[in-house]
Amino acid sequence: MATEHFEIVPDNVQANGKVSYDKSGNPTIRIKIPDTERHLLAGTVRLNGKFQCFRNAAEDAPIADTDMRMAESIGVYSVIDSLVFQNFNGQTIEKISNYNRFCSAFIPVGGSKQDLFDAYGTTALAMPNFEVQRLSVVNQATPNTFSIPLISGLMNGHNPIPLSSQWGIGGLEIIINLSPSNNVFFSASTTSASFSDGFYELSDLSLTGETLVPEPQQLQQLQSQKNSVLEYNTINTFYQNINSTNAVLSMNLGLSKVLSIFGTIIPTNYINNLVENGLANLYPLNSDNTVAPIKSVIWQRAGERFPFLYNIDTMQKDDADNEFPDPQIVRNFQSAIKVFSEMGRTNINAENNRVEDNTTAALSYKLYNDGGSTAGIGVSYDHISNDGVSFKNIPLGLQLNLGLTTNNPHGLFLFVHNKNTIIIENGNVQVLS
């Protein structure tokens, strides 16, 4: 089978080719990969474009003393709030909400510091050193180019995606909802006065990739097949609020093949806040920004402890001043993304995973080395058979015993790693989760 390259521009971009959440009033990018008699080689798909930051509405670039920063560990992924794949009939195949938060957890756990320097550095404008990232990306007066894979199950699942409406999904539309600038940028200091109207702008956007062109005989076979099945792993996002010493959460995931769950936490007043990094992954904090440590974690299924048949009591349960992260919490977080014993690359280390205050007396999380804070929780349900555990009609329970003794609501973003199945039958598409 032959392959052919394609380049597609968004179909909803304004005449000047620029897209900005704040400036253009056009916070969505829509790109359509046509309904053709071909397979999409999803692993080759890249979103390309230019990225530029401005410190004010007059479109002045940040200067040396502008305190403007962005999440250095994910770079341009910061601007994607949600990522949706749907066919031309509007049937949603995959949707990852809070995509930038997902990336801020996934990339540091599954990628190394070296990946941030090279792979993510050159393609996504990321960098483990926040100051280098600020000077080379945020403060650049000329736009930086980027070319990023859209990290997702459909794009990374190694399955060629049939695009035909007869024997495939019927075209693929990619919808990228952009994130507001005040959740992309944050201050390097304690004030955002130097960039209070700051915003980002994307331009010259395109989607490139390769398609697989079937030979005539193969095409005949494909056209004659009545149905087919496509399996891929995906992410479903759930959000919960925490504001007590004993957070008891119960959720109906509605998913039948859950492989793992990982979550990140942030005080809700840090989100969409130009002073704080709304994409930071932190251990809980009290309202005075002193640490509110996780003392125990209990994962439940149908009200029973599962898969850990014991309570995960942390070191901070007996010693609240202990700033070293509990290894069980860290290990389980990492295991939710990659089998721990096989994990050869990760950027979680003692420099950027710390149970620490966010006060002037302590080292602010903004000054952490190696890509910034990497705290999180997680659980792996199945890393052997890839069949997962059903939460279809069974609630997920999560109990977090915290030192959160003050009124300081936290957002808990849970990313559920689930196996999805697409059934294609006579041109109709059905997604089973």
């Binding site: 792993n233 942390t314 990760t346 199945d382 069949d387």
Partner: protein, 577 residues
């Protein structure tokens, strides 16, 4: 398994259970920990199972304080001296003596930044940090991280005047994968006979390490540097015969804040010049730190760390120079009083010991079929790559030695020989590296003593080696180690041989940065998936120290990696070697 790629396999239920140790609540050096995995856990995944424990370090009573940790490269693994795995019925499945030395080889040679970080977060190792980075051209040290360590609390950048003591040591939780054949196997383990683990803890004089940034005998130039007595832009010397109660520390080596400064209140210190590192004490009595602070006005408002001593001391040695051309360094003198070494016996306590087991629930059909086959006289075989230690000692005066290895494995893969320093040393000697093997002549470090005592291999002027097995010399010519032993060059052949042996031992040889400080001789007995039958064949290692005189007696730990087979049937279990 890829995060995104979807695969279809037989569904296997997976849960994690915590099995506590059964013969005590806490353990100290030399004690034994027993853990049983009951046969009710029919199947488990060994590689995702691990030992969880808390460890708390304690300083010796009545002695000056210092920051101690477990071994920086293997962390909590250093606590495990020997390990035995039995069935519940008492059949010995594997026994590993010198476990921590074997793990030192694994962790030193299977290493990269990611893996070191992973170990630091879970196993109690430490890694290099930007909070204390050398600015004097020293090699990077993994044992300078007193800021983010699991063993004791860090301090903020604020005045410190409370003595560091045992209350500052905290319980460190460690998750230790067990590097035995069974527990490093990818294959699901059929636990039909139950497993019993016996873990023997290491002695106190082996496990402790002191920061390289306060140690005189390893990377001296990484230590804080004397600035002056006056903290001025015209720094003054501490002249011989004069008194002082406080002094300032130069900003070199990132000593810019109290939190960066590696010494603690209550620590005994001395000064030593860069040029006479091996001889230099300047004061007959130790000086004790009473207060550490940053004087923001010092050095023309650039700020310097100011150290105040508990008394005014007279410099009865040579003048401690403030000149940057002839710098003087601070070092921790908790192990000597100027007239000789003193004992220093820290200890550790292990508690909350649990084996976290990844329990698997196999499909009923699979279990029924297996039981049926067992009842019909069938048996199940389970192969795993294990290793056994054949120890031999040689004297320092032995310049030619023939180390006999009475191997009897039918499926041997490789051999790793680690010549460790068997000099009898107390904890003070090991921690201070006093009299230890010098592994490198790296001049920027000034001093390069082995900090890991009897845990690691030492070259000690080994000139060459050669194996003799099946009545043949193998390789056919001697392997020269003379250049490595001379510490200023590299023999490539022993490292190529070692790489092959590591691969055959199931150790991914990602890094050879430890080739000087952890000497290992390796020989692959077969390549790829092959094995070598050692039964009925002679086997020996011949080593020659016929160059410069060796300095240390040695205990050779010879780890023979081989495939073991468990035969499990209705009547019981047997082990084929």
């Amino acid at each position: 398994m890829s995060f995104w790629a979807s695969e279809n396999k037989i569904a296997i239920g997976q849960t994690k259970v915590a099995i506590p140790s059964e013969n005590g609540l806490s353990y100290t050096a030399g004690q034994k920990i027993d853990i049983t995995i009951p046969r009710e856990i029919q199947f488990f995944q060994p590689k995702e199972s691990y030992l969880s424990l808390d460890v708390k370090l304690a300083l010796p009573t009545g002695r000056p304080a210092t920051r101690l940790s477990l071994d920086e490269y293997i962390g909590g693994q250093v606590l495990i001296k020997d390990i035995r795995v039995y069935t519940q019925g008492g059949t010995l499945l594997e026994e590993i003596q010198g476990y921590n030395t074997a793990v030192s080889v694994m962790y030193d040679y299977d290493s990269n930044e990611n893996i070191r970080n992973k170990r630091a977060m879970t196993e109690g190792t430490t890694t290099a940090t930007s909070f204390y980075r050398g600015t004097e051209g020293t090699s990077e040290s993994d044992n300078v991280n007193h800021v983010n360590t699991p063993y004791y609390i860090g301090v903020g950048n604020e005045l410190q005047d409370t003595a560091f003591d045992n209350d500052d040591y905290k319980s460190a939780k460690l998750l230790l994968p067990l590097h035995t054949g069974i527990f490093q196997n990818d294959k699901i383990f059929p636990n039909s006979m139950g497993l019993r683990l016996e873990i023997v803890l290491e002695q106190n004089n082996v496990v402790f390490r002191q920061l390289d940034s306060v140690n005189r005998l390893n990377r001296l130039t990484l230590n804080p540097k004397f600035h002056s007595l006056n903290g001025s832009t015209s720094p003054d010397d501490w002249t011989s015969g004069s008194d002082a109660k406080s002094f300032y520390v130069a900003r070199d080596n990132h000593n810019i804040g109290v939190d960066n400064f590696p010494f603690v209140v209550g620590e005994a210190i001395k000064f030593v010049s860069e040029t006479n590192a091996s001889v230099g004490f300047n004061n007959a009595s130790n000086m004790i730190i009473e207060q550490i602070e940053v004087d923001g006005t010092a050095d023309d408002n650039k700020g310097l760390i100011k150290v105040t001593l508990n008394a005014s001391y007279t410099n009865n040695g040579g003048t401690i120079s403030a000149s940057t051309a002839t710098p003087w360094y601070l070092y921790s003198a908790v192990f000597d009083n100027g007239s000789g070494t003193q004992t220093y016996n820290p200890s550790f306590t292990v508690s909350n010991v649990e084996l976290i087991v990844q329990k698997l629930d196999m499909p009923d059909g699979y279990k029924q079929q297996m039981n049926k086959m067992m009842q019909e006289g069938g048996s199940m075989v389970y192969d795993f790559l294990s290793y056994q230690n054949y120890r031999q000692t040689i004297l320092a005066s032995d310049t030619v030695a023939n180390i006999n290895l009475p191997l009897n494995f039918s499926r041997a893969k490789s051999i790793l020989c680690v010549p460790t320093d068997s000099t009898v040393r107390d904890a003070a000697s090991v921690i201070s590296c006093s009299g230890a093997y010098i592994y490198s002549t790296e001049t920027n470090n000034v001093t390069n003593n082995n900090t890991r005592g009897s845990l690691v291999g030492i070259w000690d002027n080994l000139q060459n080696y050669q194996f003799n097995y099946n009545n043949r010399l193998q390789p056919s010519r001697k392997i020269s180690c003379a250049k490595i032993s001379s510490k200023d060059s590299i023999d490539q052949q022993p490292l190529v041989e070692l790489e092959k042996a590591l691969v055959q031992s199931g150790i991914n040889p990602r890094s050879f940065r430890a080739f000087q400080r952890n000497a290992v001789i390796g020989r692959a007995l077969a390549l790829q998936d092959g094995v070598y039958d050692c039964r009925g064949k002679s086997f020996s290692l011949q080593v020659e120290y016929n160059g410069a005189t060796p300095q240390f007696p040695k205990l050779w730990n010879n780890y023979v990696f081989h495939l073991r087979r468990l035969n499990i049937n209705a009547n019981g279990i047997s082990v084929d070697l």
